[in-house]
């Protein structure tokens, strides 16, 4: 690869101070350091450093998302063939899925990179690798049929309003990928309409997600409704099938096995917090059991969903593993992470059950807790301060 190194070294002066392309220095620097690891040396502090850097952290999250993309493509093709009543093999499913995902992914990355580079150039800071993860997450939260212009508008909103106006990666309050999702959800409800949240709608067909089936139903058991739907529609809403992911939904959310393996991988590498994930599962199970106990006193069918169904319905696991654990917007204290996770799980069930207009609660639950994470940290830190002050007073 020496030839490539030579080319980069040869053009380097153009981008340096007083070079012709000085303004594009962040772009050159990003290309240079993505292709070849930086040769920066330590100056102050420890003379040696750990090999981990933000590039590695971000690229590993992106790698952990790749299986979701592959399964997403397979599932899109499969759902499409189900809807049209066609028989198909996995190859045609994969190809037809990739043809749907490809343009969404390309538009997301093109838009994301445009804004990231623009802000880096204007603000004269280096391009942050965080946008890679944001852009890799956005398509997975969208239905495959979303118009591409909406993807571009949503991504722009997520990157600019969700991140850049706060000062870029590390300064943002809300998860940029979820900001995109929320923006699209509230701005263009026709495409991701209220009762079809996170739903795939194959061409010319109005598909329903597992969560939208019991939503708004009265005096019925949710599991029975799902079983009826499995009989009356072409989709199979059994627990196992939802766990395996062969149901309508957003591109990346459906297969729970893949999400669990990605979670284990991220926890093993040490870059995401298992506390948030476990905390939010506990919160979900606890609150679901509570709604089950309350269900005899209400006609709301959503209250009857058992905890193990809650876990595999909708994008709870996807949101918990990839969105809630985003280090910048989550709680920063270890104890706070437990509370932060627990409340995400709890709010997910509450929003799902109580408000039939938003059958998918995880998006709003995470955004809400993003806003409250600093408050949780405040209380955790305050208890530490209180302990110290008591000691000082002695």
């Amino acid at each position: 690869m020496q030839w490539l190194r030579d080319i980069l070294d040869k053009v380097a002066p153009l981008f340096e101070k007083n070079g012709k392309l000085e303004i594009l220095h962040p772009l050159y620097e990003a290309t240079d350091t993505i292709l070849f690891s930086t040769d920066e040396k330590t100056e102050s502090g420890p003379h040696i450093r750990d090999n981990i850097d933000i590039k590695r952290v971000m690229i590993l999250v992106v790698v952990s998302l790749v299986p979701c993309y592959i399964f997403g493509a397979l599932n899109i093709g499969y759902q499409e063939s189900l809807t049209f009543g066609l028989s198909s093999d996995w190859k045609t499913n994969l190809i037809s899925g990739l043809l749907k995902i490809g343009p969404i992914l390309a538009v997301t990355f093109a838009t994301g990179a445009f804004w990231e580079v623009l802000f880096a150039v204007i603000r004269k800071h280096s391009i942050s690798e965080g946008f890679l993860v944001t852009c890799a997450l956005i398509p997975l939260t969208l239905p495959a049929t979303i118009p591409l212009w909406q993807v571009a508008v949503g991504t722009s909103f997520g990157i600019v309003i969700g991140k850049e106006i706060f000062g870029g990666v590390g300064m943002n309050i809300f998860n940029p990928a979820l900001t995109t999702r929320a923006f699209l959800y509230f701005t263009y409800p026709a495409q991701i309409s209220g009762d079809k949240v996170w739903a795939i709608a194959p061409d010319g067909y109005s598909g329903a997600t597992a969560l939208s089936i019991p939503a708004g139903q009265l005096d019925a058991n949710a599991v029975t409704l799902l079983n009826n739907a499995s009989i009356n529609t072409v989709f199979d809403f059994s627990w196992f099938n939802m766990f395996m992911g062969w149901v309508p939904g957003s591109i990346g959310e459906t297969n729970k096995i893949i999400i669990i393996f990605s979670a284990l991988f991220l926890i093993f590498t040490g870059i995401t917090s298992w506390r948030i994930m476990i905390g939010s599962v506990i919160g979900l199970v606890f609150t679901a059991l509570l709604t089950n106990l309350l269900s005899p006193y209400s006609s709301n069918a959503m209250l009857t969903i058992p905890p193990h169904y809650h876990l595999v319905m909708g994008s709870f696991l996807f949101g918990t593993v990839f969105m809630a654990t985003e280090p910048v917007t989550s709680s920063h204290t270890e104890l706070g992470k437990w509370y932060y996770g627990f409340f995400i799980g709890m709010l997910t069930v509450i929003i799902r059950s109580i408000n039939p207009a938003y059958p998918e609660g995880i998006m709003l639950a995470i955004l809400l807790m993003n806003a409250f994470a600093p408050l949780i940290d405040y209380f955790v830190v305050k208890s530490n301060i209180k302990k110290r002050m008591t000691r000082y007073a002695q």
């Binding site: 993505i34 930086t38 040396k41 420890p46 280096s126 910048v328 830190v381």
Partner: protein, 444 residues
Amino acid sequence: MKEIVLKKGHNIRISGVPSTDSQSLITSKKVGVSPNSFRNVKPKLMVSEGDIVSIGSPLFYDKTKPKVKWASPASGVISKISYGARRVIEKIEIKVNGKDKIINDLKNIENLQDASRNDIINFLLDANLFHLIRERPFNRVADPDKKPRDIFISGLNTGPIAVDLSKIINENKAALQTGLTAISKLTTGKTYFTSSQNHNFKNVENQIIFGQHPAGNVGIQIHHTKPIKPNDIVWTIDAQHLLTIGRLFETGSYDPSMTVTIGGSGARAPFIAKVNACVHVEDLIINQNLNKQKIRLVSGDVLTGQTISQNDFLGFYDSTLSILNDTVKRPFLGMLSIGNSSTKYSLTRVFLRLTDKLFNFTTAQNGELRPMVPISAWEKVLPMDIFPNELYRAILAEDIEEMEKLGIWECDDEDFALCSFSCPSKIDVGRVIRDGLNLIEAEA
């Protein structure tokens, strides 16, 4: 006897660790003291070029505390005094010839048990060795006019390539006991000696600490014994300097010899040596064949030490000379590499690392400076009841009140060195902690 068990921390497995079997003796032709390396000291010279000095005779004193003078670590001729910017005294070089020592009058200290605090302090001041004692907070040379709450001595080194203190302690128990008996008089509180095993020293509190680096840092030991409050003053002494004090009380003269380690990934032949304090670096690296290699020399360990050149001298409080390979490569698509035990070292598992073999560290930063992305990297290596992330932000905001609430008084930059080491955003947390301490110090 108290036992402290630390769960957090990390012993860096750096290559170039000297074997403990052999110890060479190095006689240096030149030694040197850097007055500006002592924090907050305003030095005033007491010698000039060409003067003849003995071991123990004063070289300079501190204008803010004129009683505290610095003993010459060698006997010979002042060969050179070099100044830096704004006439800062950078180095006092002494060409060694002879072994003349100043013998202090021991009359007052005939019976150490009956000696008073003033006797001990005056004796240390007369020997020009009071700077062996440092004070916390701020980790600076102690003030003889102030009374410390407690005194802490760490009998354990956990830093990379550090000197193994247990051997030194076991071989010099009597002298160390003399030193402990003497300095325990300096406080109305307690004197704590913390080590990896119980040494049963008298007149002090013996403590045992279990855990990885920074378990050997005295700051961590203070934090887990009796944390520093605002307005508290705690004195600390290095174990090897305690030995120096012990010998001083036994013989009446300053013995400037100490054990140092020379090692690191750039060292060809790591070794342990008995040397004169403030030894000339060139004398230590003569057998390392470093001519063709690009290397960095560090006085102290690789986490907290200072870059020096071979014409410099080992820092007064340092007992390690670290040699690091200074050639940094640029692997193609390094961020996608799977990694292996010889190419990547991380406290996380973001690279494949199947064996625990010693790692050939270079001076590479391994990434660019980025805004903080808190993946708990700091918290995992800081065995203190402190929120590093919040403290860091309070310091950046220069919010002194918040810094105090978050425990800045209990902190020293060396305890946060591992946080800087493991930070994925390459933030130098330790330097920021020092900035915070400087702010508080300026305020106080």
